[in-house]
């Protein structure tokens, strides 16, 4: 067991340099609601902790190009309390709201939720459907990466050892758009998703769906953007027949495991149930959002 080092740099470049120089395991500390638990339960024994919360740009939420830029370490409560963001992305907020208790959301961030790479992370499917873009900074500079390209397997990401996600960009969205996220857990709160579904869709003046993205969580090694499921809604009025097709595509994309949180069979079945409910919720929001 090596001595643990804690650093709290004040710039992204300093953070990146620390990570690049780490000899053993290094971990970025944002809200810490995963990292500290993993340390406490001795799942990980890092040599270096880089606390990024002293870096201003990872913490704020601001308007940008008609959309929003959200700091990777902005806390769940901060995001939920941002009225403009919450009004624009109710589905993302539904995901963020489900990241643990109020206490946990006082610390937990979307950056952490994404980079911890748990397949059941609640804010991740709605980020996928929102088309959020992660800003990734490393020694070679800045990359703008669609969020769905970040997690690669449970606990694994496409980030290099010396790269960090500093913020997310949520694009401007057309009128008559709506998103929603629901998950299934055996308890009403304080639980990890057994399955989760996010849908983001836009309608034209006649109520015909012009774009739709469907993402599922906790039913595969990573959250998945299911292109076929989105495509099933495009060009329709999101009627029952279209929803049925979308549900079938979502179920077909599930590659779940049996574990302590649920069985394969249950996860596939309930993913479809949620997909139907979430589609209706997203549609209702899109129709209301004139």
């Amino acid at each position: 067991m090596s001595e643990l080092r804690y650093e709290a740099p004040e710039s992204v470049s300093a953070a990146v340099a620390l990570l690049a120089g780490a000899k053993g395991m290094a971990r970025v500390l944002a809200g810490g609601t995963d990292v500290i638990v993993q340390m406490e339960t001795e799942l990980i024994e890092p040599e270096l902790i880089v606390d990024i919360k002293k870096i201003p740009e990872v913490r704020g939420i601001s308007a940008e190009n008609g959309g929003f830029r959200v700091g990777a370490a902005a806390t769940g409560m901060q995001i939920c309390d941002h009225k403009e963001f919450a009004r624009t992305w109710p589905g993302v907020i539904e995901g963020v709201k489900l990241i643990g208790s109020i206490q946990v959301k006082g610390r937990a961030s979307m950056g952490g939720n994404l980079c911890n790479a748990s397949p059941g992370a609640d804010s991740v499917p709605p980020m996928f459907t929102a088309g959020a873009i992660a800003r990734v900074v490393g020694p070679k500079g800045v990359r703008e990466v669609p969020v769905e390209q970040i997690p690669t397997a449970p606990g694994k990401t496409s980030l290099a050892k010396d790269e960090i996600v500093t913020s997310f960009f949520f694009p401007a969205r057309p009128k008559r758009s709506g998103d929603a996220y629901q998950r299934f857990t055996p308890r009403t709160e304080m639980d990890i998703a057994v399955t989760g579904v996010a849908i983001n869709l836009s309608l034209d003046d006649k109520g015909v769906c012009t774009a739709a993205r469907v993402a599922i969580g906790a039913v595969a090694p990573t959250a998945l953007l299911v292109k076929d499921a989105g495509a099933a809604l495009v060009g329709t009025k999101v009627d029952d027949a279209a929803i049925e097709k979308m549900v079938a595509a979502a179920r077909a994309a599930c590659k779940p495991i049996d574990d302590k949180r649920g069985t394969k069979e249950f996860r596939i079945e309930v993913t479809g149930v949620l997909a139907k409910r979430v589609a209706k919720a997203a549609l209702e929001r899109a129709l209301a959002n004139k």
Partner: protein, 764 residues
Amino acid sequence: MAHDILDNSGFSADRKLKIVGTNPIKHDGWDKVTGAAKFSSDIVLPGMLVGKVLRSPHAHAVIKSIDTSAAEKLSGVKAVVTRADFPEIKEGTPYGDMTRMVIAREKVYHEGHPVAAVAATSESIAKRALKLIKVEYEVLPHVIDPVEAMKPDAPVLHAYMRTKGAKPGDAKVWADKASNVVERYELGVGDVAKGFAEAEFVVEHVYDTKPMHQGYIEPQSCVATASEEGEVELWCCTQAPFVYRDRLSEILKMDSSKIKVQQSELGGGFGGKTAFYAEPIAIQLARKARRPVKITFTRSEVFRGTGPVSGTQSRIKIGCRKDGTITAAEAELVFQTGPYSGSAFTNAPQAMFTRYDLPNVKTVSYEVVSNRPKVASFRAPCVPQVVFGVEDVMSELATKIGMDQIEFRLKNAMADGATTIYAEKFGKIGFIETLEAAKNCEHYKSPVPKGCGRGISTGFWFNRGGETSSSLQVAPDGSVTITLGTADVAGSRISISMMVAEELGIPVDKVRAVLADTHQLGFNRVTAGSRTTFSQGVVLVDCSRKVIKEMAGRAARIWKVPEEGVMFEDGMFRPASTNVGEFKPLSIADIAKQTTNTEGAIAARSDMNVTGAGPGFGCHIVDVKVDEETGFTEIVRYTVVEDAGKAIHPLQVEGQFQGGAVQGIGWALNEEYIFGTDGKMQNPGFLDYRMPVASDVPNIDTIIVEVPNPKHPYGLRGVGEVPVVPTMAAIANAIGNCIGIRPRSLPMSPPRLLKLLKEKKGKA
């Protein structure tokens, strides 16, 4: 020794009460809302070290060797202990088993079984030291499930074990070779063959329930010190300080008089803190390091290393006539106990049908060892698990004969004077009154809400008395200290203080209850089985009456009149009649003030083996709504009806009803231990061991029935156990009525219910 109070409690229904039946604030509450209360992990002593336990990664293995040399060399490590530091006691004896559960000797029997421990100057050093201990194991095949463990080819835990009560003709047990069945226990009455022959309807099903953890929020913690002379002091959170002392004496081979156990505030127990875990280890570390040692468990250690409740498999059969009269009942019950006996499984056959007056009953029960943490007590140990099945069969029979659920139970209800299967003749009991109250309550009479199902169930618990030793001292200012050797698991100090205040006619604020250490009083039995408020009531009312008698004598001497000339009324000593003379009445404080002028301190002590606990009965009514697409169950409305005898502090009584019911809701819906094929528990934390959170449950309505227990001065019956007994059955019955198929396996989690719903659709 005969005690008047046990023969004649002095209970009077007409007595006017000033304090009993009100809701004063708990005296220990102030410290608990300000953070000042001292729980065991809050205790810090000079020079104190941090102790940590090394646990087995295997479910079943022989320990070939333990090498602690590297750990001992680490700077800051002050002591390391292993099996070699504990006295050898023969395997297969009660204390031999106990010491082996504390720290493994020949074998480890479950994942998480302690193997070694260290004491160091900091937690990080202690953790590092554990990693330096090398243990060589020879891994053996393991068995987790008790039914699997009963099979002839199952891995055997203890080569020496022969089934107690094995009987030729029962193929499940044998006496000629080792078995995992600890005991076969038969209990019955009448002739079941005849009874079933008379039945017009018979229902029989198989049920299984899963172990649940008591789930107290405070992990076990203790601090031990050892003096140079060899005396030991132990601060810990416990429901049984005297039992700990005497067991420590046995397994550490020390005199009980050299062990002082001081209980701290207790952060929840529910039965789980009736047996020690790290306490003997902390003592041995402290003796070796010659410094105080604190061991506090992590939540994962609590789950992997401390006792859950027995899981069961049961087959239950009941027959009745068309008019609702039950003619016979039969049960076969299997209880999982962990690696060693101790499930208290005989409670189950004794209690499962008790509340119904049944002429013919046959039960056969088995207690089975397997490679999982040893079970510990929990509210009504082993009873809710089997009532889960009994009350389903009852409900199905009522439906079959077309009788109202409560009417069917009333038809068979035990009345005053009934004799139980375990040959106790009840006195005054309140089961019929409880059922009547349930039948007449608004909840039961209201229509079942749309989309919901309603279930009811009943339950019984013996309630206990037992050895209780307490003292009462009157201070010169007239205030009173009572010293208790029982534990306070949920606020019993206030209820006990109220009975003393009522007796003495003083405000409850003038009575203070303190928790004794084991040097201060005689042996007190464990606080469990709903015995404490009942027993302490008897003992301290006895103390109070002794003190009143003593004070009457003092008044007589102050007035220079005969003792019979003094009476005690409304907290004042007065002349018994005008013939005695004109004297200004004396208060308790007036007499206390003069103790130095009279015969010195006024105090009383009472040591009894308290009897006369009145049995408790309850009936639960619940409405649930099941999401048929996901299998998710919402508890929509819940009512607990229970006989408290007399509610000393009604809010406390309601709290027991509500807390028990919500624990039962967790057990019913989601709580379970999940083991991998490697025998390791996969959910040793609050995230995946799913206890109910505030948003999972509704308010729990309560109806306190009061059928006084004539054997108690205030008529009380214990109320702690019964509230969990009917819960799972009530919920299962409600789910069954909601979705049209009754689950018979716990937990009734969404995946299980969805599977049942699919099976039902498949059949339709």
